[in-house]
Amino acid sequence: MVSCQTMAFTDTNLAIRTVGLTKRYRYIHDRPARVKDLVITALRRRLPRARMLKALDGLNLKVRRGESVGFIGPNGSGKSTLMALLSRVLRPTSGEVYVAGRVGVLLEVGAAFHPDLTGEENARLTAAIFGMSRSEIEARLEDIIAFAELEEYRQMPVRTYSSGMLLRLGFAAATHLDPDILLVDEALAVGDEHFQRRCYDWMEEHAARGQTLGLVSHDLAQIRRICQRVVWLEHGRIVQDGPAEEVVGAYLEAEERHDQGEEARP
């Protein structure tokens, strides 16, 4: 007799599994911001009770390996928090997360870049931060530069780069990590059409190789195009989870109803 939990561990088809995943934030204004405030609150002997904001509320989620899942929902619904918890940037308040393999995150335009370093140096640094070893980096550096189409500019400091060039370099460095699970959080909102197409192509390839993709976006067309499955979140809970067309359709309908409701009010 094997317990339920052990079964979950051995489920070889899953890439991501969360159990009762909950994340609460303390309202930022409730934390003493300076030592002065800290002393004052301590002297008053009355620390204000922390008000908590529930960003994720007992989320149970299973993602099969090779699945491309889109996450939609209004602002503050918990999409980005979920990504941050899956990638270990944040720690859950309660609940558990299980992942299979290396998790990669697609950063916003070169979050890791230092303006005074050259494109090549920044590519190396970003790759190291993503978890590539030095030999891996050296083996893939040429590919990264080529994918970013930055051959002539590789020795120039990135402060001289255009935002498009930065985006290409950041994307190239992130994608060459070759993660088992790739999480993308609206990184593609910028960039020209040519570049966006290459990103889609790459994500489709990534999925075709049997790797898992989690995509957060407000661009429903983008979600429909890449993801077979969509999870609709609101107030940190799953509203609907199913085939992309179905969920996106329901979401649009609900939004329309919501908008009409707003208009009807005087």
Binding site: F9, Y25, V89, P92, H114, E121, A128, F130
Partner: protein, 288 residues
């Protein structure tokens, strides 16, 4: 778990570990050595790149300081100690290592805000790479010290006692890493820390034998030195700087009565600093 279930190959579902102890964290950082290396490279490249003379400017600073301070000590205050300039230079580079490590550590999380908010990597890599970068800079400054020594004291010959510099460096580095992590963790939440630190360092500079030696105050204070001298050496930086001088210029091993407590202090503050940092690190993304 039967073998029949393992139909498809590939990575297995594993629980994500969010919290870990110092040991596990050190293993993780060691496993990400290439990251630490890349961060050190970045810091040094940024530090030395912008100017034509690059690294020479930062090596010139202690030499200029030494010239001024030696002049003041010798002619204004009448300190008559042999090879004072060399001793002052040794004090200055050990002090610069101390001061720069702490100041850089204090805002290492804030300076890497975008990274910390967006992506996971072992957070201790940030303060540790700061201390490591400053250690490398100390090494370069040490070469300058040796050159100055050969120039100023042509008959100087180092003895085997000079090898004590390495354990001294380890003790100082450990202490700086611990204190640096403590500062990084607190400064990220309370930005007053760095102001306090800057003022504290200014005071410490004068009560530490940097621009003078412990011998100088022993001579200057006379009878008062009898009770003041031991208290004075409670300052770990006083012991460390005096030990550097002792092994290099007096060819004697460090005074163990003084050094062993400092070594113990270094280990304790490293463990405490590391622990506080690990605890605080989960709040960094929300605090910055």
């Amino acid at each position: 778990m039967s073998s029949g279930e393992q139909a498809t190959s590939g990575p297995v579902l594993r629980p994500v570990r969010y919290t870990m102890g110092i040991g596990a964290s050190l293993v993780e950082v060691a496993g990400r050595w290439d990251l630490v290396r890349a961060l050190v490279q970045r810091d040094l490249a940024v530090r030395y790149r912008k100017s034509v003379l690059g690294v020479f400017w930062s090596l010139l600073t202690p030499l200029l300081q030494m010239a001024i301070l030696t002049f003041v000590m010798k002619y204004a205050l009448g300190v008559t100690e042999p090879n004072l300039s060399v001793k002052i230079l040794a004090g200055l580079i050990a002090w610069a290592y101390f001061e720069n490590s702490l100041l850089d550590c204090a805002d290492c999380i804030i300076n890497n805000r975008d990274l910390v908010k967006k992506i996971y990597f072992p957070r201790p890599a940030l303060p540790l790479s700061v201390v490591l970068g400053n250690t490398i800079h100390f090494g370069l400054s040490f070469v300058v010290l040796m050159l100055w020594l050969l120039l100023w004291v042509p008959d100087y010959r180092p003895t085997l006692q000079a090898l004590w510099v390495l354990p001294l460096l380890v003790i100082q580095g450990l202490m700086l890493a611990g204190a640096g992590m403590l500062l990084a963790a607190t400064h990220t939440f309370y930005h007053d820390i760095k102001f306090v630190l800057a003022q504290l360092l200014r005071v410490l500079f004068f009560v530490t034998p940097v621009m003078y030696t412990a011998e100088t105050i022993r001579v200057k204070l006379g009878a008062a030195a009898n009770w003041l001298a031991p208290t004075y050496m409670y300052n770990p930086m006083a012991t460390i700087i005096e030990s550097y001088r002792r092994v290099l210029f007096e060819h004697q091993r460090p005074e163990m009565v003084l050094l062993l407590p400092v070594a113990a202090f270094a280990v304790v503050i490293f463990l405490v600093g590391y622990r506080v940092f690990l605890r605080a690190s989960w709040s960094f993304p929300e605090a910055i």
